[in-house]
Symmetry: none
Subunit: 194 residues, 4 copies
DNA sequence: AATGAATGAGACTTCATTCAT
DNA sequence: AATGAATGAAGTCTCATTCAT
């Protein structure tokens, strides 16, 4: 009853060879983020991630201690990447004026931020709102964001700007999308006036 | 309207009386919100809600078509209640000056908004970010919020203020909580200057 | 992807009707004991019990909170039945003399006790040796055994006789089986001499 | 035989030195017994034993053909050690009288036998009750026990005494522990009267 | 109108074992 | 000789949903 039958299954699919795959953890994390974008943390499962990453189910708990560890690794990577992008934009800006323009593009969903990123952000926030472990991730993220903004603005302004960016990004996605560029630009200008 | 009914069951049979319970749907919705606050949408299940509402499991699919319908009903109720609270605060304010003070209290987590509300908000946003049906809920909520703010401010300002409120509320919960009152007040003042 | 396919499986087996089956818990317990006899607690699994009881796998955790609860229920039933059998034998004995003869038959594996019973006993002991919850089951069992023996013997003798019965039953199964009747009878007689 | 070897690995590479560890099999067996005492055969797994023995998981199937082989090796070692202890006690006894006293101490849980030993004994019995391979281990154990007792008693008495010892040891652990010394001494005396 | 019983699907996880190195 | 990586099978359990009553 025990070990029979396994070989009878797939004449079509060749026996999958035992793969040596040093980047597997990375691929799993990326697949995890993909699944979250598509179905939310609520819809996340080992099975779906394994399928998306094209790894056997057993790989999931081999590489990550459990669903939580996977989630944490995925969101840590996401948060790091997101703040790196903001920091790069701020580093490219040669003046507060250029920084303001970059923020505006950022908020209006230009090159820097897209829906995928906002979706992941809302999921991370939902976790962080109830769980200190994820709150640590958002803390670190926000600290890095402020540091990026402080390349051009004083700390108090950076803090307020960061909150405004957050709020505007959410509204762009969750409101009817009519957030007009002119008003956004004006708000940024008002809050960051020298 | 008579108060008879429940007590009429025979004392002989130990049969649990079929409860006549007209508020049951309401109770289930509130229990659903409680469960979400405690465990997130990810941790929501019919069983947990039924236990929290003290109703039989069979009641769940009797009163709501399915998990999704329950979730939708719960978040609709939540969003309506949240915007009613903001509207009441704006209605109480006799001047833009008082309105600004009320917003400040709102953001700093005074009487108007508490962690519970922010938790539910993040969960709703996470749903809305991926699902048009929930996006309709946030649309309506934001529209009502803008209308409330337009009691005292012009539409463009209302829109920006609403975004700022959002961002600040999130930062209060998800950052290290050091959002200082003075800066918040200044930001509100700057954005809503006449 | 979700609910498709289920009906394609068995053209051979008719769709199993939802059964109303009030004795199901009992049947599961008996099947559980059967599986333990065949494969030990170590080899016990929900799947095997469900198959043995001819119930769907989902029934297992519906009727019993978990593997432990099932195990406990099964051994409680077993211990109760075992002591009832000894008590019945002692009740049938009209004199200490007849009681001694009954014990001897008991130990030598006559009508009263068979291998199945010894197997279950050893499994229960293994659990009880490490777990207070199961120890409570053996306590109760031994108390009932002593009470049965006290129908014919004084308490101290009953206690010693019970221990001897245990040891002899084990030796009969686990030694080479050459435990000779004459010596058993002599031991019983010596320990229970008036 | 030189003491070199392990320390020869380069200080440059952080490679964990391949341990040369001739006692590893022994250590694994002892760890296996520890795990059984703590979690039962039911809770035994290669992973737990490897962790307890502080050896890599791959070592397990390298040193032992499988779970069964490991279990068998562990219980063989245990049974041998247990009977050696009884034999040593009987060898130390200079007369039947001293032998009786030693048995009494043995049963009452003195120096000779402790709970750990009874736990392992019950686990072994549970295996032996269903599996001839383990039954061979108990056969050999009991034969050695009888031989030890025959240093002072005739074969028939030795056999009965061994059964009584078994039963009393079990009762001490699995009953409420009130097995009184006086009765035990009397029972031993009665069964082994010259 | 309402519910307890029931069930199939699928969740996460642990596991013994294999194998390339 | 020894092991870290890997995997398929199977484990327990939770679940949304159905249905007879």
């Amino acid at each position: 009853m025990s070990a029979v039958g396994a070989s009878a299954v797939g004449a079509t699919s060749a026996v999958r060879p035992r793969r040596r795959d040093p980047m597997r953890s990375e691929r799993i994390i990326e697949a995890c983020l993909d699944v979250i974008v598509a179905e939310g943390v609520d819809g996340l499962s080992h099975r779906k991630v394994a399928a998306a990453a094209d790894v056997p189910l057993g790989s999931m708990t081999y590489h990550f201690a459990g669903r939580d560890a996977l989630l944490m690794a995925a969101f840590e990577k996401f948060a790091r990447r997101a703040s790196e992008r903001l920091d790069a934009a701020m580093a490219r800006a040669a003046s507060p004026e250029e920084a303001r323009a970059a923020i505006e593009r950022h908020v209006l969903g230009g090159v820097l931020i897209d829906d995928r990123e906002v979706v992941l952000m809302t999921e991370l926030y939902a976790l962080a709102a109830r769980d200190e472990r994820y709150k640590a991730v958002t803390h670190a993220w926000m600290a890095r964001s402020r540091a990026a903004l402080e390349r051009h603005f004083d700390p108090a302004t950076a803090r307020i700007l960061d909150a405004l960016i957050e709020g505007l990004a959410l509204h762009r996605l969750l409101d009817d999308g009519s957030g007009e560029g002119a008003d956004v630009a004006r708000a940024i200008a008002l809050l960051s006036a020298d």
